[in-house]
Every structure is written in C-alpha cells, then in structure tokens.
Symmetry: C2
Subunit: 339 residues, 2 copies
Amino acid sequence: MAAGINLKELAAELKLAPSTVSRALNDSYEISEETKRKVISMAEKLNYQPNQFARGLRENKSKTIAVIIPERINNFFAQVMDGIEEIAQAQGYHLLIYNTHEDVDREKKIVNLLLNGRADAVVMSVSSQTSDVSHLEKLYRQGLPLIFFDRICSEIPTTKFITNDYQSAYDGTKHLIQQGCKKIAFLMISKELSITKERYRGYSAAIKEAGLEKEPAFSLNCNHCDEENIGLIRDMLWSENRPDGIVSAVEKLALATYHAVKGTKIRIPEDLKIISFANTTMAGLLNPSLTTITQPAITIGQECAKLLIGKLTKPKHYELIDQVITIPSKIIIRSSTVA
Amino acid sequence: MAAGINLKELAAELKLAPSTVSRALNDSYEISEETKRKVISMAEKLNYQPNQFARGLRENKSKTIAVIIPERINNFFAQVMDGIEEIAQAQGYHLLIYNTHEDVDREKKIVNLLLNGRADAVVMSVSSQTSDVSHLEKLYRQGLPLIFFDRICSEIPTTKFITNDYQSAYDGTKHLIQQGCKKIAFLMISKELSITKERYRGYSAAIKEAGLEKEPAFSLNCNHCDEENIGLIRDMLWSENRPDGIVSAVEKLALATYHAVKGTKIRIPEDLKIISFANTTMAGLLNPSLTTITQPAITIGQECAKLLIGKLTKPKHYELIDQVITIPSKIIIRSSTVA
DNA sequence: TTGTAAGCGTTATCAA
DNA sequence: TTGATAACGCTTACAA
C-alpha cells in the first residue's frame, strides 16, 4: 500500500523516457552529466526506490544471501552471523536467516524454499540430525553457490570453513592430562556431526598418546534436552568409575556439567577438571571460570561472506573449490582446569 | 545459473497453457481435479519452483518480514527472533534480519533499504542512539506495517510490545530494599531509550516510597564499551559513598558489575546486592547466581509476528492501532540478592 | 474447464 | 545523447 514512486512516474516528472532515467541512475556512460544530475536530484527529492522484484526478475539476482544455522541462542552462531553481516552489508547484500532448531525436517523444508531464487547463495551449518544429505545435493546441483562452516557436509564438493577441531581437541585434552587427569570423558551432542568426529579424534589421539584408559562410558553422547543431558552427566559423575576430567565438544554440555555438579560435593577443578569448546563472553564469570577452546567465529563468518560475495560478483576470480579451510581456535585457560 | 524450470516450460511439457498450470498449482476452483493432479505431479517431477520475483512483482508481496535489532549477541533479542521465526515459518514468511550494532546511522541506512518492497512489514527495536526518528517516520508514512518491541518509539502511532518495565523495576528495587539495601544505584545504557526511562521511573518510585536518599552519582549512565563500563562501575564502587545495591537495566551491565567486583574484596551479596533485567540461561551458573528480571522474550516475538502477519493476510481483521501491549516479566530470585 | 493476452517495474536492444 | 519497445515469469481479466 501507499508505496513509493516508480521509474515511470519519476520519468514523467522529469519529462524524460523511463529508459533514460534508468540509465542515468545506473550511471551509464551514454547519458550527459547534466541529465544525470537532474535525474539524481529529482530521485532523491521524491525518494525514489527501485523495485527489487522488477530488478530481480530482469537480472535474476536478489542481492540476498541465505544463512541457515541449527541454533540461535548460541554465541558461536551469533558471532558468525555478525561476521557474515558485516561483509554483506558493506557489499549491499541482505541476509535471510533461518534456524533449523537442530531438526533435519525443518532443514529440508528451508532448503527447498531456497530453490526459487529468493537467495543468490547459501551459507550453512547443518543440523545435528543431518545424515541423509539429498536435500543439500539438490541445492548444490541447482547451481546455487553453497558453502558450509563449522558443521560441514563432506559429501558436497564445495568450500568449507572450520576451526582446527582435531588439533584444538588434542591440545585441550593434553592440557587436562598435564593437569593430572587420568580418566577423561568426552561430551558430544551428535556422533553424526563433522565437528564431533574431528574433536573426538583429537581427544582420542591425546588419550592414546598418554597411554590412558579409554572407558567406553566416558564417550557420552548427549542430545538437545538440557534436563536429560544434566541427568546423563550426573549419572556418569556418580558412577563407580567416575571421570576426573571432561572435554566438552560444545558449550551447552559444559554448562550442563556445571548444573549437574551444582549442589553436590564434587568440586571443580579439585575433583573434576573441565575444558570446553565455547564462545560465551561469560566463561570468565562462571563459578569457577571455565577454560575454553574459543573459536574464531567472527572471522569464520567474514571469510564465508567474502568468498561467497566474491563468487557472486566476480565469478571468474573466485571458485568454490572442494576444500576445507581451517582457522585456528584459541585455548583460554581459566580456573576450571587449574587446581 | 543452472536454474530450474519455469512455468512456461512446465506448461509446454504438459501441453497446457501457462495460465492453466498456474491456476492448477494455486488450487483454483475452475480447474478439473484431473488436470490439477497431472500438473502437480509433473511439477514435482521436474522440481518446478515458482520465481519469487515474478510473483512479487505481480502481487506486490514478498512474504518477507524485516527484523531490526540493535545487538545479536544477546539472549533477549535471540529469543525474540526465535519467537518471530516460529510464527513466520508456519505462515510461509521469511525473515530478513539486520543488526544495527546500536548505531543510528546504520539504522537509518537499513531502514532506507526497506523502502523498496523487499519486505512486507518491519518489526524493530531501536538503537540506543536513536533520538531523531525521521527515518522511522518515513518508513511509517510509506505504509509499511511497522511495529516496535522492547525499545519502542512513541512518536510513531503503531502497536508496540513491551514488558512491564515500570512495574518490574519497581518490584526489583523493592526486593533490594526488603533485603536491607539503603543505597541503591541504577545502571543504564542510554537515557534516550524507552526502556531506560520506564525502568528508571520504577526504580525511582520504589526509592522514593521507601524514603531512601537519591544520590545523583547512583544513576550511572554507561555506554557500549565493556571495558569503559567496568571502569565506571568500579569507580562508583570505590567512591566514598558507595552503593550497597544495584538495579541494572540491562544484562551486560550486570555482567560488567561482576567483572568490576572480581578480584576485589567487595562480596556479592554481603556487601553489594544486584538484580538485573536479563535473559541469559547462565544466570544460575554465575558466581554468585544472579537474581534476574526475565522478560517474556519468545512470547514478545510470537505476538509481534502474529499481529503483523494477521495485518498482512487479513487486513480487515487486524489493525496496528497506536497502543502499547505489556507482557509481564518474571523476577527470579537467586543468590546475588540474598545474603 | 481451458486458453489468450495484458501488465507488474525494471533493463537492454535497437532506432532516432 | 535520448526515446520506443521488448522481455524477465508470473497472475488474472476476459474470451472461448
């Protein structure tokens, strides 16, 4: 309703042809400077805004990037989105954002919605339920530039951005070993996820290298219900053979551990040391402060956006080749691992 | 590139006219069941996806809602977005999300970008710098349905959703008084914001009612630099006449207070009690756990989306009248206010 | 019940 | 340097 003025009306106002006005606004070389000036000033005066649908229909471009994440209430993903948006805004791109809530059915629906030109490209991190990737293959085959970050999909031959999951988990686990831990558990949300596999590999390598036992019950596969996770962790901590160290693959499980321990006689770090992949700014304020493996979330977002927009605007100079680009995390040692 | 099939090609494949196919896909009453079946099955087989630009151009609808927030790394706004998205997804709407980073210039640019039909409606929370609202008035005058939440703009005669800022701040302050506080400070990020004004009114009323002194230095106006805020709060806590209670209008200032106190001999809650508007799930894990005024963020998001989509789909039944709808917060008492 | 044709607001091609 | 016209893919009067 109401709506603004369109090109035809603007042209009529100027007593010029629509095509002339269009060219003037697009700074075409074939238009005189004087006409350009007149057109631009009138356009501003009348607050002319070109219709994006008409333009999109003509040019087959939406100047929009779709971002699909599994969770919004999560500092890591929030920071990645800020990174993406920073680059996108600067280049005049808009962001359609979708949260799958870790639900692969929602993910499929969302991906299907993107097959119609609503977005020029897609950047995503898959849900923890995603094992069948046919919907992603369909998207890829449509020719939409697609890249993954963090939770990547190795079946799709495109560029992926991750942190050094293996090495960070290895270093983190080694840190616990150096602090005297003998029985170290690993907390994860889904065995299917790329990040889980890599982080678990790093953890396992450090355990093996140190000659420590690898109790099966110490590989704890959690889910997305906080209450259940707290229960699972509590059970593990009250079992006969309880761990004295924990490597948590995701932030929420470290917090669940804090909840599980709360009100019990288990003390962190004296009885239990914990290190976690985490990006919360509150790590330093927890009780005790949490040792974290902090991911370069903003940088990951920026790099995703740079590559994708590069590919969209200068296809000859950018190629989304099948590769994994790694940006290292930082381990920040706090009280939860130092007795 | 690549791209899918279009309506004309689909029609050719079926040996039908494009209009017939269009009607069949839109489940028009004038098409026979048999034709509909054929069309739909062929559309699925060929994975036909209608072009959104063409449709938008025809119908002047984008099925998209723009959401503008001042900050993304913030549980309150993340929850509001989840609430909006839940309703929007169910109704087939997409979300364009913009972060102003509390910068009014960015806010203006973003608002200007929305004048061209990219979104059918806008839901926003203004930046803390926003005092000149001419850009918002322009948006409103264009006829784009616009609603505000949390940080509202009273100059625009539309519907706004907030929590009971006055009452919650009053109750929270009273809680501190009941816990024995005599000198209560108020932390805020910007005097311009609607929420600041209302929360400050509630705080002031409780202070006055209890006959407590109202030291000017106790109204601490902070900004968006965490380091600076920690310094400001530290200065206040080390001054001659230091407060024994704090009401924080926003979460980040409560966290800044925790940082300011860390490593000093000031103990919470013994020497200083603190209550804060906050939506972080970590409130219970802080040291000590933080008493919070928790806003109904998801509900606020859902209500915004319901009203806006109602207005878009059934304009006769929904009116964005000039009113403020209040959804109450919950005070959750934890250790930071109980000695 | 199905087909024909016009038009949404741009931009690109061709002509003037 | 500017103007007229067609085309992008869809929906909807109007015809058949």
